[in-house]
Symmetry: D2
Subunit: 263 residues, 4 copies
């Protein structure tokens, strides 16, 4: 289990939510409250959009709580849309390419969860990545494979549809042969303008997700950053948050397409 935050709104320094709050993401790296793993010290990462169409990334294998570069960068980098993630590995190695967020073209993705028994399902999930995107697979996590599978399923034109189609396939995989392995997918996806977040699980409890709106600013988090619980709305299991540029934030049920019909 990992912890993450996603922000979209006015351009602000990253520190405003990554390091400054009482229960900031960096504090959560050392002591998360709503996670089975209370320590999220297996690397971390940040991704942000600025003047370049592709996001910037800073990923590191050390824990977030002791990284002095992180503090400088959070103070100096400003963005209107950014992700930050602290990792508790579910088994894959602690390497920079295995840290979230992942970027491909102008898309960025991060994930809290896991895909069944990864060593059993890995080849099937990797097979969902089309050849032209396979070169973008620089790590070995389930999360990166799912991201590239979503892009391969048409994520650039239809991010929500492609995510639902991919989740439907993953759900088939974890249910196949009556094995019923757990699938947990609490994830965020963005392209520099639009932000999407998903809370879904099959055969398991969905990992927590909350959001807070304040004017045009939207913050989506694994767990609240402060004690003012009233400000934070839980995203129910099986729901998604859709924040399109210039539109009202929508909370919608996440309905998996009937696979047979969809394909």
């Amino acid at each position: 289990m990992c912890r993450w935050i996603a922000y979209r709104g006015e351009t602000i320094p990253l520190e405003q939510y990554v390091t400054a709050p009482a229960h900031s993401l960096v504090v959560q790296s050392l002591q998360a409250l709503e996670s089975t793993a209370s320590t999220n010290g297996d690397g971390f990462g940040m991704g942000w959009y600025g003047e370049h169409p592709e996001p910037g990334l800073y990923r590191e294998v050390r824990p977030a709580w002791s990284d002095e570069n992180l503090r400088y960068l959070c103070r100096h980098i400003r963005s209107h849309l950014y992700f930050a993630h602290v990792r508790a590995s579910t088994g894959t190695p602690i390497t920079r390419p295995n840290c979230h967020p992942f970027a491909c073209g102008h898309w960025m993705f991060m994930h809290n969860g896991s895909v069944g028994n990864w060593s059993r399902l890995r080849r099937q999930v990797e097979a969902l990545i089309p050849d032209e995107l396979y070169g973008s697979r620089v790590g070995t996590t389930d999360s990166e494979a799912v991201f590239l599978a979503v892009l391969g399923a048409g994520g650039d034109r239809d991010p929500v549809g492609a995510t639902l189609r991919t989740l439907a396939r993953l759900t088939d995989m974890v249910n196949r042969d009556g094995i019923k392995e757990p699938l947990r997918f609490t994830a965020a996806l963005a392209n520099g303008r639009d932000l999407y977040a998903f809370r879904y699980a099959a055969n398991d409890k969905a990992n927590s997700l909350y959001y807070r709106e304040s004017g045009q600013n939207l913050l989506i988090v694994s767990e609240p950053l402060d004690a003012e619980r009233a400000h934070w709305k839980p995203v129910p299991p099986g729901h998604m948050v859709i924040a399109l540029a210039g539109q009202t934030v929508k909370l919608e049920p996440l309905v998996l397409a009937q696979r047979a019909a969809a394909e």
Copy 2:
């Protein structure tokens, strides 16, 4: 606060106490029980004696719990006298030279504790290091400075006396001008044959220390490695364990020399 173990006895693989026990040192790096810092993820280190007169060291800035090199080395390196340490920094940077244990010639040292307000006392403590040892100061911790001060106070010929003389000076420093800063010193010192451990504090509670004897084997630890509490004897505050080669292990009170008389 850090956690550490020191072993002297039959030659065994390091894994026997570093990674294998239920509450091994590596488990403690993620979840210590008797420490104010439950996470000890600010680097770690091991030091061991083998066929070479000087100890070997392996120190790394990543947490012990996720370091695959550590597991291989613990399985393959065998020693009759070794130290292992997981660090929770009290403020100095997370660098390899700041990780314990420290080595100088055939001496090795590690520490759990702190020396008052380090930024205020640092210069005074560093002044205890003689010029000929100052080149061995490769890090910036209080712990390394105290180690070199002990060696400078005659540690090679008289390790217990030099440690007590240094503790007396440090106690003077933390008490000077009526400021009463805390000094905590739970430490181990070895030369390849003899092993010494100290539990001392001034103006504060002494950090925990236990030991277990089994035949010729001696294990000294910050906290027990298993639930069999009866096997572990606490070292009382203000005491030290002295394990000289070929002699019975002694538990003795740690009596600071009267400074005026001693110098």
Copy 3:
């Protein structure tokens, strides 16, 4: 291009060939002479056999020349069969799982070379790895994939035959569709008792390989470790060195099986 050494013989400290010689492997990491990449600073690794049936590994992303752990370990670890490797990446990320040597069960492998246009051929090569070994793929290099393909082709029972069968398939891949991509394979393989080294290329010049025998001791290297050139015998392109336990070292031509016939 990387540089490596492999040793089999009397039990000696690793330092004897890794750090001590005038043109040691660590010196080569900063200044190789027979390599297109004069700097081999993209991580390094060592693997060795001791009392445990599986080899130990120490792999690190920093350059070998400045790693103080490496110097301690080379002085303290002794082995009768060990590998050491300094890496110049051909494009895959600088992570520990991408550093050589690789281990799987009691087998160990390291490689200097590359497999055609890796982003184009990667899926085909990964498809050679059987499902039961795919979980052992923890990195993303061509080298690790080839190692697991060799084991999948029966490497445990027939290491030379499995290597030749795999090289035949790789040669087919780089020649397919008339594209003629370069394949360079200068590699070492061991199981704790036997040591094998291969020098092969298709569509390119084979990377250099030398060996030196002295009594029962055998050293195989990318380039000589000292100026006494007469002691070092070049392995000709398309040849292999076979050093079975208790037998004379053999230098043999490396004849690829006719694929059609072999399968």
Copy 4:
């Protein structure tokens, strides 16, 4: 010997000089031309001024040439005054706090050179740092000590005078007792508005330094970033470049004050 660049002018992405040019600083990390150390792979760092009065820092122990974070940050961070530095250690450990640039308050400093026999002179140079700045000494390099000595000598009010006074003292130290140790000081200093660069040596050849002006933009470098040699003016030994905000860039001789008179 290290390599560095300093820029002051229009706000630009760091990549324009750190990674983009034919002989960029990152290329120099792998292959410097005018340095005794052709490889500068012992860590690197960048520092830049933005909207915050204190500079941002990114420092890392890995070589610059393979750091993917560096490429992202150089593309996304924009600044009107920034430093970048690739390190070839002269003996002190490869740690982040030992990487340049160093920051203290709104001042930033980086250095190429060395201060005599550092293990002999270290205590004397550290003694130049006043107590109130000694807490800012987080590493162990000669360079950081000299920077803090300059600030301690009044660098905030009178940066040029304080640097000259400190160089005079260092020159005395390397000449004392007729030992004549080499002192090399090719360094840059900035406060967010003004940029200073110095080329000085005692008992040795001064490390190279060049600058290029183009409109209001000033670039100062260890060695030219491209083959257009005519654009790059060498800074003669014993000279300094002074670029005060809103003023013409001045090249002036660096005249050490008579110590006796100055104090």
